[in-house]
Symmetry: C2
Subunit: 237 residues, 2 copies
């Protein structure tokens, strides 16, 4: 849910910023790779940024940490997570467990409106690709997967997918070649075809293939060279 565009300057109106809003905003920033892995999330800076007290920020950071999107170091602060190769593999394994099933459920439950929304979404994805707006392209390709979970109409699965999609953005930021975008929208197109044909099995299979391609495009081996070793080794824990 995107935040409603209300002017936050209005002091008389309801300024109630839920900590969920803060969490979502940071989620989005991570997905769009505006917050690279390792970025320090200073409490005071975030207080300033969101115009809320320190307590709210602290709760938001705790929630983000519980989703493993930020790492909390005692007495040192919060940092955007830097997934290890192992964590990256675990995230993709979880996605491979969840998303094929989600795709199937979504096909079974999609209304005509849902399919129309998906089509419209793909148009936006295409446009972003052609306009070379990398951030928007990344955001939309992640959003596509969340849309499927939404169509599947299961809030538990949707919440899990939000976490996994966000962490995938971090993973691609670390292990992906610079030219690689999140998803090839061709794959999304074919998944949409499966929706139109109401072929749940096809959607399932296409999703498996899609995820395998993405994971395969990453460099998950220890591609460390020289001094970088220490940086990556001792970054955390």
């Amino acid at each position: 849910m995107t935040a409603s565009p209300r002017s936050s300057d209005d002091a008389s109106a309801i300024d109630e910023i839920d900590e969920e809003d803060i969490v979502d905003r940071i989620f989005d920033a991570v997905v769009e790779q505006r917050l690279p892995p390792g970025t320090k999330l200073s409490e005071s800076v975030l207080c300033e940024a969101f115009g809320v007290g320190r307590m709210r920020i602290r709760r938001a950071l705790l929630l983000l940490a519980s989703r493993e999107v930020v790492d909390l170091h005692a007495n040192r602060g919060a940092f955007v997570a830097s997934p290890s190769p192992r964590q990256a593999r675990e995230v993709f394994e979880a996605r491979l467990a969840l998303e094929p099933k989600i795709a199937r459920l979504a096909v079974e439950r999609a209304t005509a409106d849902d399919i129309a929304n998906l089509s419209a979404h793909l148009l936006k994805e295409h446009a972003a690709h052609h306009e070379d707006s990398r951030q928007e392209a990344i955001r939309l390709s992640g959003q596509f997967h969340l849309l499927l979970a939404q169509i599947a109409a299961n809030s538990v699965l949707l919440r899990m997918m939000k976490e996994l999609v966000t962490r995938t953005s971090l993973i691609i930021g670390i292990f992906g070649a610079p030219s690689v975008t999140n998803c090839r929208d061709d794959d999304h197109e074919r998944i949409l075809d499966a929706f139109k044909a109401r072929d749940g099995q096809a959607a399932c299979d296409l999703m498996v293939e899609h995820l395998r391609v993405i994971e395969g495009s990453l460099e998950l081996q220890n591609k460390t060279g020289g001094a970088v070793d220490l940086v990556n080794l001792f970054r955390r824990k």
Copy 2:
């Protein structure tokens, strides 16, 4: 410096209680159905119970709420969650998406030690059943599923399963017939057989069947009668 009011602390060495510990302790209590749905979790009482400050308790409750094991009502406090029939269905749908895959992975990755541990676990389950220790039986049958996730060696999946198993206990507490225990350990036995035969597909299929049986034993329709209608309708939200 104000000494922490250690009124009746155990003389155990560990004074440092992580909020993760508190979360786990409450998770366990919920799994064992010692904390029925709707139970109020008062901050001051929990402070007393765990011997920690209010901040720790608040953080623990926030984490529990993010796992949807407790509901947080503004200005009213924290309550053990009371899953709706819809939420119950969502939880089982998520388990059906995850656990067959987890079972397959676990079979593929199980060492001889892992299988021995599973066997030992099943003996404990049997013993608990025969001794009619209901709480222990419930705890162990949930633990079995977590053991599989642990053998699958995927921390993401393990964390998700912890949440789902806990919520399942709440669901069974609400919608299960009083005599029904969490899982029939016969099913667990057969899954173990699949491990011994190294038959991942069989484990996968058995898990699907196992979960379907559990869900089928619940009364997820609106089994309301008379005055109960209002209570269930307006219980929350």
